[in-house]
C-alpha cells in the first residue's frame, strides 16, 4: 500500500464522507483449528473467546507475563473449533511463534495463511451500498464485528463488518489468492472501484489509514501500545476479562495493575495553537515534562493537529491545558475526548443505521 494515491487529505475525506478502499494485505492472517483451539486462544488473550458464536469476532489484546501488550487484533470464530486471527503486520511472526509454542501440548493446528489470502478494507458511510452491488448476501444483516461467507463479484470471500477508520465498513478476505498470483484481488479491487464510482470512492493509502484511525482514537501497535504498556493505561481495560473461565498469560500482573492507579494514561490532545504534534514530542505543564506524544498528525476532519499521548495521571483530566514541544517552541493544546476525536453525531459508524 502506498502512502497515498491522490493525497492524504482527499482520501481521508472520501472515507469520512463517502467510501474508500484500502489494500490491507500486509496484515497477518492466522488460522487456529482443532478441538483445543478455543482453550488455547483463551489462555493467550485477555478478552473472553468463549462468548464468540460462529461467524462472530472480537477485539482483544494479548499480553506478556508482566501485563505488557504483545499485540492487539481481532479474532473471529469461523466454526466451533476454528478461529481466524488478524495480527498486526509487524507482529505476525511473533504471534505465530507465540501460538505455536503454546500449541505444542494441545490438539491444535496453527497455520499462517497471510500469503494465501488477500485482504482489503472498504470503509465509509457508503461502504455498504458500494459493496452490496457485488455481494451475494445481504450486508445489512451483518452486524458490527460479525462476518459471513459470500461471493464478491466472481470470488469467494469472508466479509466482516469491521475496520480501522471509525466509520462503518467492511474488511474482505479473499480466499485462495496467493501473493504470487494476485490477479483475483486486482480484479476485485477494480470491481469495487467501479461499484463505488457513483459515490466518489477513492483508493486510499497508509497516510489516510493512519489519520483516520488517529481521529477515531484507535491505537497503533508499536506507537501507542507495546510490551512496555499495559491495557489499563492504554485505556483498553474493556478487553481485559479478569474473571473469565481460563487463566491467561499476564492475568496476575493485570489484576495487580487494575487495583493500583495507573501512573500515566493514554489521552487525546487537540492543538489550540498551530502546529502538528508528532510521535515522540514532549508534553509539558508548568515547566515540568509530563508525558510524550505516541501518535500525532493533522486531523482533516477537525482541521487541526491532534495526538494520542501518555501523560501523568494527575494531568489527564479533560480540558487540561498542556504544552507540546514542537521543535524549539511550546505550543498550546488541551486534553480532549479521543475515542473518537470527532463528533459522533456527524461522523463515524454510529451515525449510520446498520
Amino acid at each position: 500500500m502506498p502512502v497515498w494515491f491522490e493525497g492524504v487529505i482527499p482520501e481521508h475525506n472520501a472515507v469520512r464522507s463517502a467510501v474508500g478502499i484500502f489494500d490491507t494485505s500486509h496484515m497477518g492472517r492466522l488460522l487456529v483449528s482443532g478441538p483445543d483451539a478455543e482453550a488455547l486462544l483463551d489462555r493467550l488473550v485477555t478478552n473472553d473467546i468463549s462468548r464468540l458464536g460462529p461467524m462472530e469476532g472480537l477485539y482483544t489484546v494479548t499480553c506478556n507475563e508482566h501485563g505488557g501488550i504483545k499485540d492487539d487484533f481481532i479474532i473471529y470464530r469461523l466454526a466451533e473449533d476454528q478461529f481466524f486471527v488478524v495480527p498486526n503486520a509487524s507482529n505476525r511472526e511473533k504471534d505465530l511463534n507465540w501460538l505455536l509454542e503454546h500449541a505444542k501440548k494441545s490438539d491444535v493446528e496453527v497455520k499462517d495463511v497471510s500469503d494465501d489470502i488477500a485482504m482489503m478494507a472498504i470503509q465509509g458511510p457508503k461502504a455498504e451500498k458500494t459493496l452490496q452491488k457485488i455481494a451475494s448476501e445481504p450486508l445489512r444483516e451483518i452486524r458490527r464485528f460479525k462476518c459471513k461467507e459470500m461471493t464478491l463479484g466472481k470470488y469467494k470471500a469472508l466479509v466482516a463488518r469491521t475496520g480501522y477508520t471509525g466509520e462503518d465498513g467492511f474488511e474482505a478476505y479473499l480466499w485462495d489468492t496467493p501473493l504470487s498470483n494476485p490477479s483475483k484481488a486486482l480484479d476485485l479491487w477494480e470491481e469495487i472501484l467501479s461499484a463505488g464510482k457513483e459515490f466518489g470512492i477513492k483508493p486510499c493509502g497508509l497516510g489516510a489509514r493512519d489519520s483516520l484511525r488517529l481521529e477515531a482514537g484507535l491505537s497503533l501497535y508499536g506507537n501507542d501500545i507495546d510490551e512496555e504498556t499495559n491495557p489499563f493505561e492504554a485505556r483498553l481495560g474493556f478487553v481485559v476479562k479478569l474473571k473469565k473461565r481460563h487463566a491467561f498469560v499476564g492475568r496476575e500482573a493485570l489484576a495487580r495493575v487494575n487495583k493500583e492507579e495507573a501512573e500515566r494514561l493514554l489521552v487525546g490532545i487537540r492543538m489550540l495553537d498551530k502546529g502538528i504534534p508528532r510521535h515522540g514530542y514532549e508534553i509539558w505543564k508548568r515547566d515540568r515534562k509530563i508525558g510524550h506524544v505516541t501518535s500525532g498528525g493533522f486531523s482533516p476532519t477537525l482541521n487541526v493537529g491532534i495526538a494520542l499521548a501518555y501523560v501523568a495521571r494527575e494531568h489527564s483530566e479533560l480540558d487540561t491545558e498542556v504544552e507540546i514541544k514542537i521543535r524549539e517552541r511550546l505550543a498550546k493544546g488541551k486534553i480532549v475526548k479521543s475515542h473518537p476525536f470527532y463528533d459522533e453525531t456527524q461522523y463515524g459508524f454510529k451515525r449510520v443505521k446498520t
Binding site: W4, G7, V8, I9, G207, S211, K274, G275, I276, G297, F298, I326, R327
Partner: protein, 135 residues
C-alpha cells in the same frame, strides 16, 4: 527528475528550494519551489514573519508544515518584510496548487540584491541542482 518539476525562467533560486521574483519596483516576492511543495506534499500550516521583520539571507524566517513534515524557510535575500501573503493563513494549499503564483509567501525590500543575487541560482543552475540531488 527535474523534468517533473516546474522551474520558471527569470526567477532566482536557493539550494534550499526557495525562489525570488524581482518586481519592477525593486522589491522581491519569495516562495518555495514546485520541487519543495511536491516533496512536502499537502501543506496545512505556514508560519509567517511579521511585516517589518528584518530578514537575513540564508537565515530561517518561517516554516511550512505539511501532513508529512515541517520544514524551515530560509530567506533568499536580506531586508525588511514589506508584505506577507495573509491568504496563506486560511489557504495554505495555495503553496501546493500554485507555488509560483498565489503561493507566494512574503514580499521583501532587499538591501543588497546585486550582491546577494550572486549567491542564488538561475533556472538552469537550479535544474542542475535538482539533478545533483537525484544522484
Amino acid at each position: 527528475m527535474s523534468e517533473e518539476y516546474e522551474i520558471p525562467e527569470g526567477l532566482y533560486y536557493t539550494d534550499d528550494h526557495e525562489w525570488i521574483k524581482v518586481l519592477e519596483d525593486g522589491t522581491v516576492l519569495v516562495g518555495i519551489t514546485d520541487y519543495a511543495q511536491k516533496s512536502l506534499h499537502e501543506v496545512v500550516y505556514i508560519e509567517l514573519p511579521n511585516v517589518g521583520d528584518k530578514l537575513k539571507q540564508k537565515e530561517v524566517f518561517g516554516s511550512v508544515e505539511s501532513v508529512k513534515a515541517v520544514s524551515d524557510l530560509y530567506s533568499p535575500v536580506s531586508g525588511p518584510v514589506e508584505e506577507i501573503n495573509e491568504e496563506l493563513v486560511d489557504s495554505p494549499e495555495f503553496i501546493n496548487s500554485d507555488p509560483y503564483g498565489k503561493g507566494w509567501i512574503v514580499k521583501v525590500a532587499p538591501k543588497n540584491l546585486d550582491e546577494e543575487i550572486e549567491n542564488l541560482l538561475n533556472a538552469e543552475q537550479y535544474r542542475e541542482h535538482l539533478e545533483s540531488l537525484k544522484e
